[in-house]
Structure formats: C-alpha cells, structure tokens
Amino acid sequence: MDEVATKIIEILKKHMKEPRDDISLQTALTDLKIESLDLAMIVFDIEDTFGIEIPYNANEDVEDFKTVGSVVDRVKSLMAEGPAAAKA
C-alpha cells in the first residue's frame, strides 16, 4: 500500500471505537461502523493532512466513500488537481 493509503487508514483507525488491523483497500466503510458524524471528522482530518478540500455533503450517498480504496482514489485525484481545483 502506498503512503496516501497508509495515512488514510491511520486516520480511519483514529476515529474508530475499536480500531482493526485488517483494513484493506477493498474494505467497505460501512463495515468499519463509521457513522455520519465520524465521517465528518474523518473528512476534516484527511483535508488537513493532504491540504485538499473534499466536496462532501452528509445528506448524499457518495460513491467516493464506499470503500477505503475509493476514498484513496478520490484523495489522489484531488491532490493531482491541486489546491485551486479543489476549491471549485
């Protein structure tokens, strides 16, 4: 696993009541018992860590937040777009 994925998994574990060590890119976020409020804090931490802004609305089911891998992909694409694009 690359550095982005490792960091994201660390952030996920930080916000889990009972952190697990078997989290892979295929793990669904729903399996981690992450609730909407946890997700808001996770998004905040990821944004801070990578200096990006993730367009995220707690009212919508977002494809990007289905699995750990999809979060990693979204973060990588936002990082590639750069800070200017992330603001749009």
Partner: protein, 414 residues
C-alpha cells in the same frame, strides 16, 4: 397526598454539582464547611492585556475519567466543557436518585438543562482558527459543541430521557428557570421525573474582555454585602437536580431529600443592568405564596448576592420589603463568595446548597465579610457557617435584564 388545591407535589430525589470548590456534592459541601474560596489567578489561556486576572475556575478536573463509564452518548468526550460539567452533575444526581438507566418510562421524563451562553470557549477557538490562524474550516463538531441545548441533549441521550428536552436561557436565572419549568411539568402531570438545572463554562479571553468592558468584575475578589465589594468574579460549573412527583418517588422507595414547595418568577421590564426591588420582591412573594408558608417559616435564604454594588443593596431591600421584621432573623448567605458567579449555573449550585443546609441543619457562610456595607444590615452569616435548624429555605436568582426567579424548598412531605 396532593396539595389542598389538588396539585401534584414535587420532591427532590437527587442532586449533583461540579464547582470550583468541589466537583461532587460532598466535596462542594465540605468546601462550604471549610469557608473555601474557589477564586484564583486565571489559568488555561494567555491573559494578554486583561486587567481582571482572577476567576473561580474548576482546576485539575479530568472529564475523561469522570465520564468514562458513559455508554449511550458516544461523543460526550468530544463535547464542550459546559456539556461535560452538565453530564457529570446529572450523573451524580441520577445515581443519588437511584433511577434505572436508561429511564424506565422515558416519555414520562423531562431533561431541562440550561446554559447562559452555551459553548463560548468552543466559539472563541473556532473564530481564532478562522480569523487569526487562517484555517480553512472549523472543527466538524464546532456547531454541536456551541449550541446552548447540547448539554440537555447529551444528558438526555446518556440517560434515555425522551420527554421534553431543551435548555433554558436567562443569564443568571437560567438554572432556576429550568428547575421551575421542570417542576411545572411534573405538577401539571406532563411528566413524573425531571432532570433540571444548568451548566456554564465561558471563562476565556473574549468573555473576560466582554465582562471587563461592562465594568462589573472585581480585580480583587468577590465580597458580597461587604463595604469593600467592587464587582463579581466569574465562575463555572453545573448544578443539577432530579425532581420527581411525590407518589412516584414513594412508589419506588426513593429517598426524598426535600420538597420543591414554591417557585416564583417575575421580570422588572425596566433596565438591562440595574436590578429593581419590586421585581425580586414579587418573585420571592410568589414562591412563598405557592409554598403556602409565611415568611417567618424560612430560616435560610441563599441570596443572589453577586457582590456588585447595586445587586446586594437592592436584594437586601427587597428581602426587607417582603419579610419585614423577620428579615433580621433570617440567616442569609451568598455562597458566590466561595464558588464565584457561575452565571447560568448559579441557581443550580445554590439549590444544592439550600438542600444540604436542610439536610445537615447547618447554613453556609458569606466569606470575605469582615466589614459589612451599612446599607446591607442583615445577617449574612459572615465568614463561617453555623448550626441552625433549617426546615424551609429560599434560593434567589436575579439576572441581567431584570429576570427574577425564586425557589422555596421545604421538608419531605409525610
């Protein structure tokens, strides 16, 4: 038995406190027995250019260990400090009442926990982050921490209370209004149990600056009724009661601490900062009338006693107008001299002081009172508390805006 007018009677079966002179009821009372002062140099943030450098803060209190056993409220550890105080005080009160958690009849219970200002410390941090640190966002829980109803919501979640749940907000009368409203809900049959009171934690740079600008804080200390008094001292904490309908408490074999016999509320409708005499007097009169006892039955009165020049003089005059000659026989104290002025939470802490006075037949003192103001010529129990047979007590809370509240506590009904 209901009251002669058929009203359901309301008793107190639990109480809890977090204060600068003790973070449980026992410690709080021991602090009063020792004439302890909770006032000290401000800690926790850089005082920068503040001129007033003292406050009554709760120091060395670990919310993590105090709230570790919380089960249903998953984010209590992420809440504002004012919600921690409320949660800890409510936990003590509910345990003392011996109620099952979650509550057995959740829709027959109310949770009314007010706050004068909500999560102001969180507010300041968020604005510093945005405006000074140029952060791109506030912490995601900022809003939930700030809202003035979050303490009531946190407590309701943890204890499984599903009836009326909200906060009161009336500056220094907040807790007393909450206690009164909870009492009314029980009396009118809406609920059988109510967790009531208030919590406050606002001591930060911005709050100190705002109070300083109003010129009502003392840079030296809080000396109610004294000639040298020159303002109040900000405090923090929570005071929570469990109120219960008399027959409900009896049926489950609860230990009844006292009856909440009377409640009065008025508004001066006159001035934001200068309290009247008539409004406070009428609030006290309404509370006495409802308790159905003459003023001569009250032995101890816990005064609002903020140590501002005008409050202490006007409160003294209001007491004299209502009680007449008995005013000079009353034992009166301002326990704010010890725990500081915890703003909205004041009436909660002071209700606990009244109930303890009845339990132990001992009245707490007004400390720092060596040289009384000649205009304040009643018995304020100077400096050390004393033994006194206490059957009925009154607790006053008078707020900015002229919002007056008064409670009367009496013996547990036979």
């Amino acid at each position: 038995m209901a009251k002669p007018n058929g009203a359901r009677r309301v008793v107190v079966t639990g109480m809890g406190v977090v204060s600068p002179i003790g973070t449980t009821v026992d410690e709080f009372w021991a602090g009063m027995r020792a004439s302890k002062s909770g006032v000290g140099p401000i800690e926790g943030f850089p005082p920068e250019d503040l001129k007033v450098l003292i406050a009554a803060q709760i120091k060395g209190w670990d919310h993590r260990s105090r709230l570790r056993h919380f089960q249903r409220d998953k984010i209590i550890m992420h809440a504002d400090r004012y919600s921690w105080f409320a949660a800890a005080a409510a936990d003590e009160a509910v345990k003392m009442a011996g109620l099952n958690v979650p509550f057995d009849e959740p829709y027959r219970a109310a949770c009314i926990i007010g706050s004068g200002a909500g999560g102001l410390v969180t507010f300041e941090k968020a604005y510093r982050d945005l405006f000074i640190e140029n952060k791109r966002a506030t912490h995601p829980l900022t809003l939930l921490r700030i809202i003035g109803s979050s303490a009531a919501a946190h407590v309701g979640i943890e204890f499984g209370i599903r009836g009326p749940t909200f906060a009161t907000c009336s500056a220094c009368s907040t807790a007393t209004h909450a206690i009164g409203v909870g009492r009314d809900y029980i009396q009118h049959g809406m609920v059988d149990v109510a967790v009531v009171g208030a919590s406050e934690s606002v001591i930060n740079y911005g709050t100190m600056k705002a109070w300083q600008a109003l010129h009502v804080l003392s840079p030296e200390g809080i000396f109610p009724f004294s000639k040298k008094r020159n303002g109040t001292v900000l405090g923090e904490g929570a005071g929570i009661l469990v109120l219960e309908e008399l027959e409900h408490a009896k049926a489950r074999g609860a230990r009844i601490l006292c009856e909440l016999a009377g409640y009065g509320m008025t508004s001066d409708a006159k001035d934001m900062v200068n309290p009247g005499i008539e409004g406070p007097r009428e609030a006290m009169r309404l509370a006495l009338d409802e308790a159905g006892v003459p003023g001569t039955e009250i032995q101890y009165l816990n005064a609002h006693g903020t140590a501002t020049a005008i409050n202490d003089e006007n409160e003294t005059n209001a007491i004299k107008e209502l009680y007449g000659k008995h005013a000079y026989k009353l034992a009166i104290s301002s326990t704010k001299s010890m725990h500081g002025h915890p703003l909205g939470a004041g009436g909660g802490l002071e209700a606990v002081a009244c109930i303890k006075a009845m339990q132990e037949n001992w009245v707490p003192p007004t400390i720092g009172l060596d040289d009384p103001d000649p205009k304040c010529d009643l018995d304020y129990v100077p400096n050390v508390g004393r033994d006194l047979q206490v059957t009925y007590t009154m607790s006053n809370s008078f707020a900015f805006g002229g919002l007056n509240t008064s409670l009367v506590f009496g013996p547990a009904p036979a």
